[in-house]
Amino acid sequence: MILLALVLVPLLGGLAAWLSQGIDRNLPRWVSLATCIAGLAVLFSGAAPTLPGAGDSFLDGGWLLHWRVDWIPRFGISFELGLDGLSLLLIALTYALGLIAVAASWTEIDRRQGLFQANLLWTLAGVCGVFLALDMILFFLFWEVMLVPMYLLIAIWGHEGRAYASMKFFIFTQVSGLLMLLAIVALAWQGAAINGELSFSYGDLLGLAFEPQVGFLLMLGFFLAFTVKLPAFPFHTWLPDAHTQAPTAGSVLLAGILLKTGAYGLMRFTLPLFPEASIALAPVAMLLGVAGVVYGALLAFAQTDFKRLVAYSSVSHMGFVLLGLYAFNELGLQGAVLQMITHGASTAALFMMAGALQHRLHTRDMRRMGGLWVQAPRMGACALFFVLASLGLPGLGNFVAEFLVFMGLFAVAPWMTAAAATGMVAAAVYALWLMQLSFHGKPDPQRTMADFGLREMSAMAVLMIALLWIGLFPQSVLDLASPAVNGVETLFQQTLPVEVVAR
């Protein structure tokens, strides 16, 4: 029931936020804030007692919490939710970034606040569902449903190019989602042929022995859907448009958590369901990862739009996730998980910064900024912190994540590692470029702008503490994720040819 509550709380909260607009036009944001806090409270009060028992991976059904009722018995579809350390981490991230998004939109949204907060919370509900669903159709349901409120966020409250951006975002995800639906149905039919009973449950579909070609095609359906969402090169083109045009809270959610659903999908579904096919695809996936890392970084360097730069840096950072996942070893996988969380925190902060600047200066063009540090020192300091985090400064979370990915990857593909490492150099260039253009230099004397206030500083502080914590004590997070990571690793050690494991 706790699992159901995790989805229901933001769902009903959204409804309440919408209706509360009738009482007071500023009430919805308070409702939203309360809902996110309530969600976190439910998560921790529900999951904390189960944590000591954590240890078994999903292969042995080691869910911290598990809930299942029949939904559509005709097709063997059930309403099945499960929580393990990995989903716990990601749901905590979801609600935390939900709080940040509410803070970011506190004064920015001046029309139809109720519906705005409702859509924001419904997006959270969909994402939580994605992180919890263990029935493939239910997973697909949440996967698609979370698009609709996000689409509305961009289409209604977005900036000048919102029509194009929102449409592109929806079509990219939906079309790849159709391929996934096809793969899901075909997978279940394969499962029915092997097990003798039609079921869409994750547990029943794990470990099916396919013919190699069938397995590979099915895997591709999932892989495409998830890499479009991730996004991996060359499917990333929707991302800069959507991020740039979305309102600040939308960008925070998109970059912070929606991209992670792609990474989560790869780790939870693509790899464990199709280990053999994944191994066959690994060289291509790694190549896409490297291409994403390098290409994203190069394009980020070429931008003059603050938000667009951060968006391209996301493409680059999510390339590391792909690399870590397809290394198939513990270090790589742990690195990928950490990267999901630290990228969520650092990018959310940078998007919030971009939104704050746009709100104050009415432009995202960095050439028209310059010298902001003098006028807004607190903003400058925050920007510097997150820019350094994003380029991978040791001591902050992103460094640990990328370092682990490199360690894991080096064991299996040294040349790929070397190529990806050049992306780190480019990251330093674009990150410092961003800092220099907008915050250093001579300030415009005509300009007056407010510095960050208490609300914005506290949001920033939360994210800073999170990044510092992960940077200095990563073990606490690694322990939570380890059952899921070990499960995947075990599966691959059984599948991989011996000499690859030895290397």
Binding site: I72, L141, I156, F170, Q174, L182
Partner: protein, 479 residues
């Protein structure tokens, strides 16, 4: 005929008797309001008859009709849809004509035709039902007689529909020559030992299928649909797009399955061509339209294409039950969804002269002007594009399941491609509604009754998507 037989066809009797009574009432006292009420009453009685009349097992009533789970399901659906069309016409009709009595009478007759088609088990009842439906529709489409486009649409429908009926009749004549019978199952039995040979049998089957494909507006027989949809008054378009599409499909399903037409060489291939062409033509041309009615017309062509896919799957007797289930569920889900979309157009054009304002720009800002209506439209559009939590998704899931089970990968490709294209034009409407309302956009006032219809339709579409098991269980029992 015994009492169980009468109970089995109770909806037909209720409608037939009801039409006569309403006609007498109109003769005695002309009043649009009263006629609307009595028409509604007749439809509700017929609906109740289809829901509650127990008649035991499936049975043939005379050689013409077959009462089973399939016919009762669609008889009820058609009566309910027609009742909603009647309700939608209340505010719409006064602008069209001074007297609205015949309008409701014609709507009842058309519904009777649809219900007869749901029961038809014989070429004669098929033709009777189909012509009753079509002839009533000619008059209904041309009802706003002051609007030239409506008359044009009716003429177009009349001429092309006549051609289609002739084609179908020729097909049945050939089938009769080949088998000596006109009942669906007898045709199936006769085809095996036909003296005229398989070539003639296939030809005649294709002719019959083409005639019905015209009614379904499957490509390449789709040319009438956009013009007729655009020219007809919105509540009539709603009827045309739901009952007048679903009824021929039900009878096609029964004919093809009972007469074993898929066993004839080449027939399944014809269905494959019709399906793929409809999917591509419908979706691609819908991209180019700027009128919502035309967009929905082309989208309905595409949806008929998806439905026709199941005949390709049903070619293999092993997959026939699943294919049939998929078709019935999809069709059932399609009806309230389409009704909702056209209902919206009827409501935003109430008290017009029948020349509807249905350009894409006309719904700009509907979210803010009339949130309840906009929500209904969004739900309907999401259902048409097959997004989860709506009826359309379950329908699409069924289709995917059927096509994957049959391993028709080319058809799967068409299905995915078509759905992918479709998102663009559905989403375009959603986007248009979400934008700020233009200055001077007309006010849309809704009374409590209308709002309850809108909420009811929204609830039905969502309920079919969230809790589909009830209908699934029923449909599972049909095949």
């Amino acid at each position: 005929m015994n009492s169980a037989d009468f109970a089995a066809i109770a909806p037909i009797i209720a409608l037939g008797g009801g039409v006569t009574l309403v006609m007498l009432q109109v003769a005695a006292r002309r009043s649009a309001g009263l006629t609307r009420l009595s028409a509604l009453l007749v439809l509700l009685v017929a609906l109740a008859a289809s829901v509650w009349c127990e008649f035991g097992d499936a049975r043939n009533v005379t050689v013409l009709l077959r009462a089973d789970l399939l016919s009762t399901l669609f008889a009820g659906l058609f009566c309910a849809s027609a009742a909603l069309c009647v309700l939608l016409s209340r505010d719409y009709l006064p602008g069209l004509s001074d007297e609205g009595d015949e309008y409701y009478l014609l709507l009842l007759l058309a519904t009777l035709g649809g219900v007869v088609l749901a029961y038809a088990n014989h070429a004669a009842s098929l033709l009777l039902g189909l012509e009753l439906l079509s002839v009533s529709l000619y008059a209904l489409i041309a009802y706003p007689s002051r609007v030239p486009t409506a008359v044009e649409a009716a003429t177009k429908y009349l001429v092309l529909s006549g051609g289609a009926s002739a084609t179908m009749l020729f097909g049945f004549a050939l089938l009769y020559a080949a088998t000596g019978s006109l009942g669906f199952t007898d045709i199936g039995a006769g085809l095996a030992g036909s003296e005229l040979g398989p070539a003639i049998s296939s030809l005649s089957a294709v002719l019959v299928v083409s005639g019905l494909a015209f009614k379904l507006s499957a490509a390449p027989f789709h040319l009438w649909a956009p013009d007729v949809y655009e020219g007809s008054p919105a509540p009539v378009t709603a009827f045309l797009a739901t009952v007048a599409k679903a009824a021929p499909f039900v009878v096609l399903l029964r004919l093809v399955f009972d007469a074993g037409l898929l066993g004839l060489p080449g027939v399944a291939e014809v269905f494959a061509v019709l399906a793929v062409l409809s999917i591509l033509v419908g979706n691609l041309l819908a991209l180019l339209q700027d009128n919502i009615k035309r967009i929905l017309a082309y989208s309905s062509i595409a949806h008929m294409g998806y439905l026709l896919l199941i005949f390709v799957v049903a070619q293999n007797p092993e997959h026939r039950p699943l294919a049939g289930e998929a078709a019935v569920f999809y069709l059932f889900a399609y009806v309230p969804t389409t009704l909702a979309a056209f209902g919206l157009l009827a409501l935003i054009n109430s008290a017009g002269d029948g020349d509807d304002r249905a350009a894409v720009d006309d719904i700009t800002g509907l979210f803010w002007r009339q949130p309840v209506l906009a929500t209904l439209m969004v739900v309907a559009l999401l259902s048409l594009s097959g997004i989860p939590l709506t009826a359309g998704f379950i329908g699409k899931l069924y289709l995917f399941a059927a096509v994957v089970a049959g391993a028709h990968w080319f058809m799967v490709g068409a299905l995915v491609l078509g759905s992918a294209i479709a998102i663009y034009y559905y989403l375009r409407l959603v986007y248009q509604m979400s934008q700020p309302a233009p200055e001077g956009a007309p006010e849309i006032a809704l009374d409590a009754g209308t709002i309850s219809i809108v909420l009811f339709l929204t609830a039905v579409i969502l309920a079919l998507g969230v809790l589909p098991q009830l209908l699934m269980g029923y449909v599972h029992g049909i095949f």
